[in-house]
């Protein structure tokens, strides 16, 4: 009997999953992943944090421990502060808009008798599309002189807008692209949340006198979507925070720094100017913010079922 064997040997305790096996097999199975985890995630992060306390520049031979100097400089760095500010402004535009649009789409489609599949398909299409390719399209679409959007404005007798050439509009233009590509994603998450709302509840609501869709939405749908809502907000915030592609392809931080965002600035600092030390410090700031979001997300997930 295997059970007797294990008990007499004392090497392996009977285990929870009912698998009474030598742990060596488990170590063998997990080793490749553990090595890669160390080499591609944990190790580099430790090195990155260490780098942030040095003045290392790629290609130079010298490296000096400078303590908190890089962080001190970030505090004075107008470019970095602007990038941080732009990033938050960008998130503040993208997250609420994509969440509300996603919710709006999900609720509207959920109430339909026909065509649900068609609409889901259409609104999810931008999520699948390669961001860089669609960024090209949007760049042309919103082009100051030959872009169809402006031609449309002109044909309506309105003045043309060079969105990505305008300091005040460029960031909002990028945000619009992200809202377009994120709303469908959020729609699907909300749709999943809506399927969890039992049909009977709406019948009861109708009996109880919630005649208008607004009453039903505010008193039933929205409260029941509460947990999904929190989750979608955090996910959208994280996604918006990681914006990079559209900036790199369309505006490159311009015009005049108005679309400098955290990741793009860090990218330039590290891989264009090769100032690894200060780029590492920026990365630490970025990672810290990400960790805070992730922590909130984990809390939200824990409380997902709170009824």
């Amino acid at each position: 009997m295997p059970a007797d064997l294990t008990q007499s040997s004392g090497m392996v305790r009977p285990v929870r999953m009912g698998a009474i096996m030598s742990p060596w097999i488990a170590y063998c199975l997990a080793t490749p992943a553990i090595l890669l985890l160390a080499l591609t995630v944990i190790g580099p992060i430790i090195v990155m944090i260490a780098l942030s306390f040095t003045n290392y520049e790629f290609g130079s031979l010298g490296i000096q421990w400078t303590g908190l100097e890089n962080y001190r400089q970030l505090l004075d760095d107008r470019t970095f502060k602007r990038a941080l500010w732009n990033t938050f402004a960008y998130v503040a535009m993208v997250a609420p808009a994509s969440v509300l649009l996603g919710l709006f789409l999900a609720v509207l489609i959920d109430g339909l008798r026909h065509g649900q599949r068609f609409y889901r398909l259409v609104f999810f299409l931008p999520v699948t599309a390669t961001v860089v390719a669609m960024a090209m399209v949007w760049k042309y679409l919103l082009h100051g002189t030959i872009g169809p959007f402006n031609l449309l404005l002109q044909s309506l007798g309105l003045p043309s807008l060079d969105i990505f050439g305008n300091r005040d509009l460029a960031l909002a233009g990028l945000a619009a692209i992200n809202i377009w590509s994120l709303a469908g994603f959020n729609m699907v998450l909300f749709a999943a949340g809506l399927t969890g709302v039992p049909e009977d509840i709406y019948d009861a609501a109708a009996m109880d006198g919630m005649e208008s869709s607004l009453d039903r939405f505010l008193n039933v749908t929205l409260p029941l979507l509460g947990p999904t809502m929190l989750f979608v907000v955090v996910t959208s915030t994280i996604t918006a925070f990681k914006v990079f592609d559209t900036v790199a392809v369309i505006t490159r931080g311009g015009p005049r720094g108005s679309t400098d965002i955290l990741l793009y600035t860090t990218y330039l600092e590290g891989f264009s100017y090769f100032r690894m030390g200060s780029a590492a410090a920026m990365t630490v700031v970025f990672l810290t913010i990400m960790m805070i979001f992730a922590w909130i997300q984990a809390r939200v997930l824990d409380h997902k079922v709170h009824y």
Partner: protein
């Protein structure tokens, strides 16, 4: 005959609103396609026309695959995202199996590290990874484009959840039959968990096909560029003048995922939103 008291106007209104939004959402795709078949002169006519006045055929598409190495980009996209997925599955599945079905010293620590790593975006270890890859002279290779993604902690996390719900009795029966753990994993457990593996595969391929950041860091030569990087570099060099070719190329490079999505919508939606739902 009674008509239902429930009003139909609400349905119609919903359709009107949704159709309008659908139009807005599809408009960029429409512009992409229609621009890619317009004649060059037409692009600079300062008037918006719904359809090309003069059909240029697939001229820009031919240009995109002959003058610009669009097909090379596609090939690179397949190699890089396929290679990444292959190694991800090969390393994550055994690790997830160990985490799900074995008890060993350090298991909880390993899982905690996995959970922590879930929240780390590629930009965090990017600098040291770049330094390491250039130290071994691997910059500007397929290996450099793939290596950082060889381990997917998300895959480990997801497969662990899936494997945990796989019945122990079947595994025990296979052990009784004298199968090795390796054989049990790949011939018994994995085939039983294919939906979850398929969903992850979609997620992984879409993510790495579309990734611009990392290829931008490590790829220099045109022959190795992935679709997004190739497109971005091409757009630069053309300085935006040749929109027809640019749109044709955007269409070519987006097409594989689009076609995949249209053919297997359910899998795509499940795969892509998996990060959100799980």
């Amino acid at each position: 005959m009674n008509t239902p008291y429930r009003c139909r106007p609400a349905q119609i209104l919903s359709h009107v609103v949704l159709l309008f939004l659908a139009f807005l959402f599809l408009f960029p795709f429409y512009v992409m396609i229609v621009t890619s078949i317009r004649s060059p002169q037409e692009l600079f006519v300062r008037e918006f026309r719904w359809l090309p006045q003069q059909f240029t055929g697939l001229q820009y598409y031919i240009q995109a695959v002959t003058d610009i190495p669009a097909l090379t980009f596609l090939k690179n996209g397949v190699i890089v995202s396929g290679g990444i997925l292959f190694v991800q599955l090969l390393t994550a599945i055994p690790c997830a199996y160990a985490l799900a079905k074995f008890q060993f010293r350090g298991r909880d620590l390993l899982f905690a590290v996995v959970l922590f790593s879930l929240t780390v975006p590629i930009q965090a270890p990017a600098l040291p990874l770049f330094l390491g890859l250039s130290a071994i002279g691997a910059i500007d290779t397929y290996f450099a484009a793939m290596a950082p993604f060889f381990l997917s902690v998300f895959a480990i996390f997801l497969f662990r959840q899936t494997f945990r719900s796989y019945p122990d009795e079947i595994i025990q029966a296979a052990r009784m039959d004298g199968m090795s753990e390796w054989a049990i994993l790949w011939t018994i457990v994995v085939p039983g968990c294919l939906p979850s593996i398929a969903a992850f595969s979609v997620f992984s391929v879409v993510a790495h096909w579309n990734d611009l950041y990392w290829p931008m860091v490590v790829i220099r030569s045109t022959e190795l560029m992935t679709p997004p990087l190739g497109l971005a570099v091409f757009a630069d060099s053309e300085s935006g003048a040749n929109y027809g070719a640019l749109m044709a190329m955007a269409a070519i490079l987006t097409a594989p995922l689009m076609v995949g999505f249209l053919l297997a919508q359910r899998h795509f939606i499940r795969g892509i939103t998996m990060t959100g739902v799980k």
